[in-house]
Amino acid sequence: MKILVVDDSKIGRMSIIKSLEVVKPDVEVFQAVNGLEAVEIFKKERPSAVFLDLTMPVMDGYEALKQIMEVDKNAQVIVVSADIQSEAKLRVLASGAKNMYPKPINDENMVQIFKQDLSL
């Protein structure tokens, strides 16, 4: 299974990958450092799920989510963001994200994501 992790922060990506390794050790992880790179990798690799940050340079997570959903309306995107405003969550859910979690994500969140949010 391919998973795309998108965050401009290396430690942000690593904390997600660390939880992925605990909960789903067999996944193949791809990394992107901004929304533009994420869309390109998504088109090429068609990952089963995307973990997407919102506040990023070049292209933010809102725009990346929109473009990913245009490529595949069934894309399974989990937003992981420092922005914990309810309106931010409403916006990403309205754009097609499966769920949104506050940073930093932990192993319990990851278990919940694979149990409840993603249909893989």
Binding site: D8, S9, I11, K18, T55, A82, D83, I84, Q85, P104
Partner: protein, 204 residues
């Protein structure tokens, strides 16, 4: 004393500030019943005599400002400074008190309320990420011109300063301000040690 930060340490600090600013923005969004746009934090290590110029380069020099400063001590000690222009502060007063022309007292109260929530949430959340604790001092607020925000005597005892800056941005309400976390010399070394511990935990 090693006051330099490597790429991973800067990345980690920026991410922790991002998380802290997210918590603060959410608290203020509740207070203002509004949506705040988040921005990527900027981290700079500079000589103390460069501080005034660095701050002046991020603000409009023609405006008057409310500048609130709050000291905190502990393993990670420093000063959190929030700068909001007179116009933005008026908009904050209008919005919070639902009046067309807020009084100077209304504006002062609104700025202090906003600053208290902002600085305490940012620093508390940051220290939580760093697995440490700090003690806060009572904040002080001034209504001053851009050139008077940083006085030489504020920073003359220190050689290096880390400036962590980000923007509070409620676009629809035309309320925005600049947040700076200043930490100096021994605190920079402590901060580096705390960050290294967290990197070790996350990277395993």
């Amino acid at each position: 004393m090693n006051l330099e930060f490597n790429e991973d340490q800067i990345d980690t600090l920026r991410e922790f500030i991002n998380i802290s600013m997210g918590a603060a923005t959410a608290s203020l969004a509740n207070l203002l019943d509004a949506f705040g746009t988040m921005h990527i934090p900027k981290i700079e290590i500079c000589n103390s005599n460069e501080l005034a110029q660095k701050i002046k380069s991020t603000i409009d020099l023609k405006s008057m400002y409310y500048a609130t400063k709050q000291l905190f001590t502990g393993k990670f000690g420093g000063e959190c400074m929030f700068i909001i222009s007179e116009d933005s502060a008026k908009n904050l007063g209008r919005h919070l008190y639902n009046v067309t022309i807020p009084s100077r007292d209304d504006i002062n109260d609104a700025v202090i309320e906003l600053t208290n929530i902002l600085t305490s949430t940012i620093v508390s959340r940051l220290t939580q990420e760093l697995n440490t604790q700090v003690q806060f001092f009572v904040p002080s607020s001034q209504f001053i011109d851009a050139n008077s925000i940083v006085h030489c005597e504020d920073v003359s005892d220190y050689s290096k300063i880390i400036i962590i800056s980000t923007i509070l941005d409620f676009k629809d309400q035309k309320i925005n301000g600049n947040v700076y976390i200043l930490t100096k010399d021994e605190a920079i070394e402590s901060l580096r040690v705390l960050i290294d511990k967290r990197i070790e935990e996350i990277y395993g």
